[in-house]
């Protein structure tokens, strides 16, 4: 599938670029302001994971149609060292970078679907989905 949009990420300022791009796309798909804000916040968190742990990566946006509804798909991918303890990384308060440890578990709560693929030496890909409202 071809992404709707790709935002390259290699410095902290790209976090704002990625979340604003996601915000625009979500608004176009008919998400409410609350949903749009939750999506933008989740994008901010997963994009910061790229700049904190991998330095370089990209955020890819897709739109899927499932059950006649639009689904916004956000893929944050890097070729960094990978996450050693995915289970722990999904716990509140766990951080290896001195952060609050809310990023990944928080992003998971903000979205409808959330998965992480991470392999030593290959990198990490976070895939998050949010279903647009039926009437959108």
């Amino acid at each position: 599938m071809t992404p709707e949009l790709v935002v390259p990420v290699d410095r902290a300022d790209d976090i704002v670029v990625a979340r604003e791009a996601g915000r625009d796309l979500a608004r176009r798909l008919g998400f409410s302001l609350t949903d749009v804000t939750m999506i933008a916040t989740a994008i901010s968190e997963v994009t910061r994971n790229i700049t904190s742990y991998a330095e370089k990566g990209e955020v890819r946006f897709y739109v899927e149609i499932r059950k006649r509804r639009s689904v916004l798909v956000v893929e944050a991918a890097d070729q960094g060292p990978g996450i050693e303890h995915i289970e722990r990384a999904l716990e509140d308060g766990y951080s290896t970078s001195g952060g609050l440890g809310l990023g990944l578990p928080g992003a998971r709560r903000l979205m409808d679907e959330f998965e992480i693929r991470s392999d030593d030496g290959v990198g990490t890909t976070v895939v998050m989905r949010k279903w647009a409202p039926l009437d959108a």
Binding site: R23, T37, T41, E45, L100, L102, G106, L110
Partner: protein, 124 residues
């Protein structure tokens, strides 16, 4: 984009723009600490009305600002968190339990004025 800081009496008002980057947030922290000392401010309002995302980094930075300036004798109020931003913050798990918040800039300034008037001694 640097965050403008205005002085009003013994208070400082920092107005955050819609897209606050991590470096903007960190710069705000440094500048507020510097200005609190320089102008001998007793209160700070950080107006986040325009801010459309409060993520964990922004939240942590604002919390740090509140704690650091408190140690320098100034109260920090976070004013104007938008309803949808508040909703997302709760889902994210970001709490401002130990930070003063206000509905908007006006309420934030009113709070600081009340504290100054009462000498702040009874609110330890």
């Amino acid at each position: 984009m640097p965050i403008p800081i205005l002085k009003q009496g013994s208070f400082l008002i920092a107005t955050i723009q819609s897209a606050m980057s991590d470096s903007d947030a960190q710069q705000l922290q440094v500048e507020l600490m510097e200005q609190v000392s320089r102008v001998r401010a007793t209160g700070i309002v950080v107006d986040v009305t325009a801010l459309n995302v409060m993520d964990s980094f922004a939240g942590r930075t604002l919390r740090t600002i509140a704690h650091m300036t408190r140690l320098r004798g100034a109260d920090t109020i976070i004013a104007g968190i938008q309803p949808e931003v508040a909703f997302a913050m709760v889902q994210l798990g970001l709490t401002f339990e130990d930070i003063h918040t206000a509905l908007d800039l006006e309420e934030g300034l009113a709070y600081l004025n009340r504290r100054t008037a009462s000498g702040a001694a009874d609110d330890a």
